[in-house]
Symmetry: C3
Subunit: 310 residues, 3 copies
């Protein structure tokens, strides 16, 4: 895949990615991770500036992108919502990014409104990466999820992947499922009845010949990957019901002997109680590694959209 294909490309939604494109990013991310772990400092983005525009707080995503840019020898400017002026809030997102286009070489945008990233990208000549637009898309999270799986198993095809928790509202599981459409995987969706994966998504996956099982039981004995997500209190009118449901999907010591020997547990973090800390030191835990993987994946993407070869 040519450098030109990626140069100036906006990264808005994982749904815009073909399987070839995803595979290319994963391959480049692995190459970047090698560079990162070598002793020579990487200077691929030396002299360039990333603008982090965070209209919604997300210290984790912001820090990951900042780290990625700085590990590339580049610099960052930006803001987080806390400092935004009331005046600036009256400005359209289109104007904001056009002003920032005068400062930076690439933009990461986090915004509470669905579709904000797409709209913002339409009038600028520098590439924009969606760092999350409301409940909608967060494509770099999905790419680092896929990278974590690929890194573990050297493949994605053929794996059995269980998603656990809030499958109704969870942005990360939706995007991951979207991306997995082009792979030959078996999916198990494990959730309380109230938080099932939307029917439309299940149908779409089945149309693509993906084998999908849905269950309310924590049946993870066949899974190569368990992708856990947080169940939020706000989703339940009844506190007691929430407590009961939350309990039922906790990954703790008890589930360890049910797991396949080399199964890995992932989580987009932050977790609250859905994964018990005693899992952290087991061979199954991959969530901290997964978070760490965001750095080489974002480094690779930043270089690709800025037309920097590596």
């Amino acid at each position: 895949m040519s450098l030109k294909h990626w140069n100036k490309k906006h990264i808005i939604s994982i749904r815009d990615f073909s399987r070839d494109e995803i595979d290319f990013v994963l391959k480049k991310s692995a190459l970047m991770e090698d560079k990162l772990s070598s002793s020579k400092p990487v200077k691929l983005m030396k002299g360039r500036i990333l603008a982090n525009l965070f209209f919604e707080p997300s210290t984790r995503t912001r820090m990951s992108f900042e780290t990625a840019m700085k590990r590339l020898g580049g610099k960052t400017v930006g803001f987080s919502v806390a400092e935004t002026t009331s005046e600036a809030k009256g400005e359209t997102i289109t104007d904001t990014v056009r002003v920032v286009e005068g400062y930076a070489d690439v933009i990461v945008l986090r915004h509470p409104a669905e579709g904000a990233a797409r709209v913002a990208s339409e009038n600028i000549k520098i590439p924009l990466i969606n760092g999350g637009d409301g409940a909608n898309q967060h494509p770099t999270q999905t790419l680092l999820d896929l990278y974590t799986i690929q890194k573990e198993y050297k493949k994605i095809d053929g794996l059995s992947i269980a998603m656990v928790g809030d499958l109704k509202y969870g942005r990360t599981v939706h995007s991951l499922a979207n991306a997995l459409e082009s792979y030959n995987v078996k999916l198990t969706f494990i959730s309380p009845r109230e938080l099932k994966m939307p029917k439309r998504m299940v149908n779409r996956l089945r149309d693509k010949n993906i084998e999908v099982k849905e269950t309310t039981k924590l049946n993870i004995g066949n899974a190569d990957v368990i992708y856990a997500t947080r169940i939020q209190r706000e989703r339940f009118p009844d506190l007691q019901e929430f407590e009961r449901v939350k309990e039922a999907y906790v990954l703790d010591e008890i589930i360890l002997n049910k797991l396949k020997d080399d199964a890995i547990i992932m989580h987009p973090l932050p977790r609250v109680s859905e994964i018990s800390p005693e899992i952290d030191e087991t061979r199954h835990a991959r969530y901290f590694q997964q978070s760490r993987n965001g750095v080489p994946v974002r480094m690779a993407l930043l270089c690709l959209v800025c037309g920097v070869d590596f």
Copy 2:
């Protein structure tokens, strides 16, 4: 003009600038813009630190200065009001800048109190640049305004400049008018009766033999430069009156055929509705370019006050 003249100089008010000094900064800014657009990264401020002290939010000004410093190969530290501790708020501005003098090589200060920048600069040995002190001064905004005009017409003398909108409270138009005192320009002040340019300023300009016209009509047919500003709701006790007035000074498609062929439209941004988005793609729009021009102007100033030759 010697390097020594600028070294360690505080930049507090555009009124402290002679015409020679302004012209020198504009010339140096053009030189800096050439450097910026060359492929070689600029390293003039390598190893130096700028402290951005923002006691009032202004992500735009802060990002512009940060970009300027980083494009020079320098680094930045600082704070914005959101993170300021209640404890720190009890400290005098004099103490704050004396502490920061121990960290940085140059300070940019934004503060809600008029005169804060002058007071802050009095006890420190490193240069301080006023990034806006309340309704008072914002000298680098004026310099980038002048730079934008100069860049367009290769001159300022002889031009006809119309200022539109809130001329009573608008800090940017006051400072720009102050600076234009030393140039041979024709000024048209276009505003609602309630928001006229202060009499004292008009008189002062006329004393300097500047031709000044005042009108409530959007007569911009002879203007080489139209400088639009925002009319704020807060200025009007009566909402209906505000709406009527606001409508009357909107620059939109209708005014396009009244403009001189090469007239440019400027605005300090953010705009709300005073310039219609359909103007953005016309040959007249210069407001995004104007904002972008802040980077080389601030780069030039940072170098000058730090005694860095270029």
Copy 3:
């Protein structure tokens, strides 16, 4: 003291330091200050990243560490409490630092809870420096205090040190007293009756054969070092009593002729009224210098814990 001794060491409390370790840090800080004042930019931390995690605002400490890292040629990422998401607030500090471990090479943590730094350091492999944990410890403040004394007198042993103000709640004076335990100094504790140094601390110092005097009078005629601290209104139920007490411990022009010729006045800053501004320009004032000394001390520590030789 070997480089290996310091590599990956967490800096949590001054009480963890032996006298040899303190002396080593002071010696290295002096070396670092020489490097800092030379014209050659220091590049000891080039390619490395410091994460500043500020769960409590402290622009001063944050800026000092950022400056230190940037003067070393390194980069910083991080957050201050203002931008923290409610979601992230539900996360344990242990999880937060494990995630950040995936981004950075060294962490500075500021947290309102006593003991937070110790807990946070327990599960990570990169070094963590305590930037203040509630009323508990702020070891780099103590090291820069000691460095300031050592720099002035070329020794600490044999000096007479007076601490003035709130000795009951003041974190800095407690830590400084702790550190001075291993030195041969004379201590005078000057405070209102309500704000005396805790008995336990006085006893501990006397057990170590430190000569300690306690008084409510501002007797500073024999002191080589006067360490002033702020008396906070919140400590007094009665406003009138607060005003009376505050007055009694103000260092102003009147006390100047009572001081030893070469006595120095220190203060952790910010000050409010406990040191009068007319002291600032006298030969006794060292508080701004003291604050500035934090930069080389923190530079030295950052290098030591990252295993960087200098």
